[in-house]
Subunit: 340 residues, 2 copies
DNA sequence: CTGAAAGCGCTAACAT
DNA sequence: ATGTTAGCGCTTTCAG
């Protein structure tokens, strides 16, 4: 390996001091135009690349942010990554990606690791198990800005970019009721995840108003198994059971696919026997059999906005992230699965 | 901000030298068991977190790898990320993610940036525009291991983890022919991307054998517009044109969706009027209207394997990545879109 | 406008 | 088994 060229080499070559080189490269006002040009020319000539870690060590700033996601295969999160990247890229920041796999313990370990100075800020959608903000607190105490997007932790003060979950739950219920459902249910993936709780609450409230809350029937079903097969069986039992619903709203994309699979397998007709509505950003929704009605979140936008706010928190010192609470509404797309 | 505690603080507290602390933390054999325990205890007590950049600077090793992807919204890439993460996580490595957006210039800039010492290795699926390996060469000259997965650059010597593309192209053609197609076409997204070229070649060769290559008809169509609407129009013109095919194979997921959309819009029946087969890892394939036949790549596996090889290259010095050329076969799933 | 020097936090020779 | 010391490459006072 040939010797890596660094500031010192540049200095020697140009007969200048390292300080001058450093300043010139950072375009400091205290360096003359000519020297700057000389330095830059030599730097490109020698293909000089600054060592980011030396710089980070000295400046206590890494130009790196972390994204922590429950998973990456839900299309929502892919789009969010895209949105985040689009702004990180513009700011010249690097993006580390971590997956919690919906596990609180993993999420906690990841967040704790963010305390090392490796990153300047964190964007996170919390796991469905997370019911304790202690790890977030620790981060904040180290002055590392943190922004929640979509899945925010309720009782923790920091910037949040979310959708109108309660309202969407209500919209979902109203839509199904309008389409003739008398016993719709909401399929939740967690009993502590705010997005699920709020959507479920909006859903229930609207059912209540419509007089469709029944004594001995649950209108919210928890699909919390981590094994997909178990969840599939649960869904199968639900839609073929004696007290089967005539409509379902799935809180996440994955559940919608499982409902479709189960319906196909057990010859349950959508929308005739069962109306299906999903919180989902699935691009294939319009070409499913039948086309799937969705409540679609602006995932890219959510990620982008969250990132923009995070950078405000990183760049302006003493900027108060607590003030930011952004709601970007989702949109209902009516398709055949709820009967047009 | 309270003073960040570091090795020096620990040393002072324990009345030991910084060297001893450092060695103890790295579990060196030259430190006694008791001191190690004392150090570890104090470290957890004071919530000491080592500064990764100081360590990286000194050791010239970042414990970080980069993934460079053309995009993140194709399900294939999400799954690949998942596979890569699963091994990075186990190895205690961090993963930086970058998107080339299918642009050669962006990819080049990203790769050049990897020369800074920020990362220990690169996993990449190349953009559809990439037809020059100069940037890869530069990386390799700096001794940064690079592993291609799925989309590899043909004439560049390094480890590659790919699928049996030529064969799959052939399988695709044979499948359509068996199902009665006499004029199937292959929809490519690039005229230089090896996966496209090989799949197209396998496709054409099999058509040739079957005597289905026609003089003045193209069996390979290039959909290289970056604007989705343009691509959509191109597809629409193709399948409604005078010389319309009776079967299509799409080289990527996105094109399959557009074909479906176009068919729905123009009342072209799948599979009666047009048989559709897609290279795709779409989870919704079985529930599309009609269920989509796919050639499905083991995306997670591909990512995982590529990462494992990369770590061999990173960990064992002088390990020759050139030797690794792994082919993981894809699988044909016959569904209704090609007529069962 | 330029330079000398200290030091970010950690590691690895090289002592002891 | 523990300690001393010299950097890794860069930035930032502070002096000139």
């Amino acid at each position: 390996m040939q010797k890596k060229i660094n500031i010192k080499t540049l200095a020697a070559e140009l007969k200048l001091s390292v300080a001058t080189i450093s300043k010139a490269l950072r375009d400091s006002h205290e360096i003359s135009k000519e020297t700057k040009e000389r330095v830059l020319a030599k730097a490109t000539l020698l293909k000089y690349t600054p060592n980011p870690y030396a710089s980070s060590l000295r400046r206590k700033k890494s130009n790196t942010i972390a994204i922590i996601l429950p998973e990456v295969s839900d299309h929502f999160f892919s789009l969010a990554i895209d949105g985040i990247q689009s702004v990180a890229e513009k700011k010249g920041y690097h993006v580390l990606i971590y997956l919690s796999h919906e596990k609180y313990t993993i999420e906690k370990a990841l967040i704790d690791d963010c305390n090392s100075g490796r990153i300047d800020g964190v964007l996170i959608s919390i796991s469905r198990e997370t019911d304790d903000p202690a790890h977030f607190k620790k981060l904040q105490e180290e002055n590392i800005p943190i922004v929640f997007f979509d899945r925010a932790f309720e009782n923790f003060k920091t910037a949040k970019v979310v959708t109108n979950d309660y309202e969407c739950g209500s919209i979902a219920a109203r839509h199904l009721i309008e389409k003739g459902c008398t016993h719709p249910v909401f399929l939740s993936i967690s009993n502590c995840l705010p997005i699920c709780i709020k959507r479920a609450e909006g859903f229930k409230a609207t059912l209540q108003e419509a007089g469709l809350m029944h004594e001995n029937r649950n209108s919210v079903i928890f699909c919390t198994d981590s094994n997909p097969q178990d969840t599939f069986n649960q869904i199968k039992d639900l839609i073929t059971g004696s007290d089967k619903p005539d409509g379902v709203v799935t809180s996440v994309e994955r559940l919608a696919m499982q409902v479709y699979m189960a319906c196909h397998e057990y010859k349950i007709r959508i929308p005739e026997d069962l109306k299906v509505l999903a919180f989902s950003t699935l691009e294939t929704a319009p070409i499913l059999n039948p086309p799937l009605s969705t409540i679609t979140q602006p995932a890219f936008e959510l990620g982008k906005t969250a990132a923009e706010i995070l950078f405000k928190g990183i760049e302006k010192k003493n900027y108060n992230l607590t003030d930011e609470f952004i709601v970007i509404p989702a949109t209902l797309f009516e398709r055949a699965s709820t009967g047009y």
